[in-house]
Symmetry: C2
Subunit: 443 residues, 2 copies
């Protein structure tokens, strides 16, 4: 999209040309352009859009732009937009709005819709319920393929997806699914019952959305049906929403592994206060862990006084233990997250980790013993080399085991962040290093 | 899936019951079950599967199981499987096979297919070409909607997706796309030309697959057409393959951020040698960076000798600089990766980072000055508090800027891993801490 050209038209107030240029673009791109405008211009540009695409562009805007816009337009306009939004986009929008605004909007909605919206707003934000849409094609098993196709044809415009259709009985119990592909291929006189699949994958509204993402990814689904506890169909979740879930979950894990709390808005919009709130807690925890490292050093003051050259190698040894340990923890956290590895694999992975750690430690020991030789003579070289093997082994063992332990305790393995593992490895590293030195030097 | 029950049937050699139970499951689950078996049993169970699902189960197996199986079966069986595999799955399989095996397989393929397969095997593994399939529905613009639907009906079984169809001219230039939804809704006598969309999103074969994932996610596509440099349609990429790309790219970034090289197989199957190869290089680089920290400490030996209590606070101060710095770098790396932030946003983010870093530093300074007071009196408390504010500020500035710098240099921002940022922050932290101490104490 040629943002510069469109911006020029906007500045030159050539609105009809601007409109023409905008309409050549994808709706997601138009939304991206509007997101960058100041509040006043936002309204102006938004009003240029024809009704057919206005709602879709609205659905693609950042929540901040959506709420800004909805404060500026009149009630009639807002009502028109909401009516054209697909149900899940409407819920997403209302979730971001202040409560009094939601009340005002719902006031004008019919009783049945109001109830439904309130029900959806109550689903936990991490649940399948919060992701689903109610706009699906619902068929009956007695229908003929021809009838089913006719129904789809009549309703296609309002539905989120028509590529998977859902067969329910009179009380909306889910009985089967049938893909548009199967309907198109089948003889028109066949009954839906004959071609529908009865074994299907579905989730309940309270299911965690991360699990829904796993299912959709594993079975290559375009959509998954969502039922209540009595197996009554209440909605579907489509693959395009799942792509966003996957990215969000990954972002959360990335942040967690760098000891940052959950930030679900764009960094550009995050206030300094929010960032501090999400960053400070773990930094403080880590400070108190580092005090233990300090205490460890203080404990070996005599050894340090005797051979001050030992301090030279301290950052290198504890750094290596921490770095190797974070490598191990990250490998495990990720493998656990994508399901490559399960808790029961811990022991076989531990055996491999020990082999890897010893070999890594040996190579690194050779490298540092050469430096040790130059810097402090053969005694220091031996102490540093010996310490290196042991600290890397201990760092890796802690790093690889901690995610499993957390998982076993039903906590998120990603809590075993690099900085946490490094801090633990630091403490262990200092104790090991100075113990070996004290022992070897006979102090 | 009830693995235990199925395993019991297998052990009891109740093969017909076993087959019955297996066939109740999804193909992806059957594959998961077979992946766990030993080589001999793999073949036995695989041969129980009816021809209709054998190829799909095969496509879902781990590459290791695929190659094992293909060594054990005879040429005729292998030929049958390959014939039933969809084109992209066939390419995925051949990519994992040793070259002589590929030659043997291709020997029996018709000339045209051999050429096509060789062309696909040559696409770079990170390119759109390597992901695409050639099984798509190809329409002509002169066709009526009825003709188009008839063609889809005849060909649906062989095609990866029929939900988006592609309109090309006589020389296969891409002219438009039309969704099955639009075809189903349209009057049967309309021409395809009248309902097809001419503005469409497509990629070329050499495009990076990460970019393809971005497009599919941004525009909520089910499939994206892939063209050669002359805009001739060569294939499509479907959303289910993109879900895997997104997970793989995230895995790569997770590993990179913990200084681990690219590992694209299950951790359980990775040999110790592979793991060492992927982990050692950065560990060695970081050792040499940590030598600089050691040299920094050695340089201030006199100061340390004078007030040995200063060493107690060293892990805490350099740890905090590193931790805050990795938080900043991770936040930036992730925001850059998902496109929330661009290189041009660096300056405005830097200003915010400075505010955040100073406030974080102040809170942490208060905490450590209390400990400093107890441990070394008011002088140490003041030195430690002052150092904390400065090292956190420096750590954060380095951490947040490094990903932008790498991005500017066309390198992957994720190279600014936590351990790298922490090592740089360590060096800076030691220099700052002991400079402040030396100055304040007038040494």
């Amino acid at each position: 999209m040629d943002f510069d050209r469109i911006n020029d038209l906007l500045l030159a107030k050539k609105y009809s040309l601007l409109k023409e240029e905008l309409l050549k673009e994808q709706n997601a791109d138009i939304a991206e352009f509007i997101d960058e405008l100041d509040p006043k211009t936002t309204l102006l540009v938004y009003r240029l859009l024809p009704k057919e695409i206005a709602a879709d562009v609205f659905a693609n805007l950042f929540p901040e732009s959506q709420s800004q816009l909805s404060m500026q337009i009149n009630e009639k306009e807002l009502h028109d937009i909401l009516e054209d939004l697909s149900f899940d986009d409407k819920i997403d929008f209302l979730e971001e709005m202040p409560a009094n605004m939601v009340k005002r909007i719902l006031k004008n909605a019919p009783e049945s819709e109001r109830k439904l919206i309130n029900q959806f707003l109550n689903y936990h934000e991490d649940s399948a319920g919060s992701l689903m849409t109610i706009e699906l094609v619902n068929l009956k098993k007695e229908m003929s393929v021809q009838d089913a196709l006719d129904k789809i044809r009549r309703n296609a415009l309002d539905k989120e997806t028509i590529y998977t259709c859902y067969v329910t009985d009179a009380s909306r119990h889910l009985e089967g699914i049938v893909s548009l592909r199967d309907l198109v291929i089948a003889a028109p006189t066949k009954k839906v019952e004959e071609i529908m699949r009865k074994e299907m994958i579905s989730v309940t509204t309270s299911e965690d959305k991360e699990y829904v993402a796993e299912l959709i990814s594993k079975y290559d689904l375009l959509a998954i049906p969502v039922t209540d506890n009595e197996n009554r169909l209440v909605g579907i979740i489509t693959v395009d929403d799942i792509v966003d879930v996957i990215e969000d979950e990954n972002t959360e894990d990335f942040h967690k592994m760098a000891t940052v709390g959950k930030i679900d808005i764009n960094l550009l919009d995050a206030s300094p206060f929010l960032l501090i709130k999400k960053r400070l807690p773990w930094l403080m925890v880590l400070i108190f862990m580092n005090i233990l490292s300090g205490a460890g050093i203080a404990h070996y003051e005599k050894t340090i006084h005797a051979v001050i050259a030992l301090v030279f190698f301290m950052p290198l040894l504890i750094g290596s233990a921490g770095n190797a340990g974070s490598q191990s923890s990250t490998l495990m956290i990720r493998s656990l997250a994508i399901g490559d590895v399960e808790i029961s694999d811990w022991f076989s992975l531990l055996r491999k980790e020990i082999v890897v750690a010893i070999l890594l430690g040996l190579v690194m020991a050779v490298a540092v013993s050469i430096i040790g030789m130059f810097r402090g003579g053969p005694d220091v070289a031996i102490i540093v080399a010996l310490s290196m093997v042991v600290v890397v082994l201990v760092g890796c063992t802690i790093g690889m085991s901690l995610p499993f332990l957390l998982s076993k305790l039903k906590m998120d393995p990603a809590t075993a962040s690099g900085p946490l593992v490094a801090s633990i490895a630091d403490i262990a590293g200092i104790l090991i290093y100075f113990s070996i030195a004290t022992w070897y030097l006979g102090l």
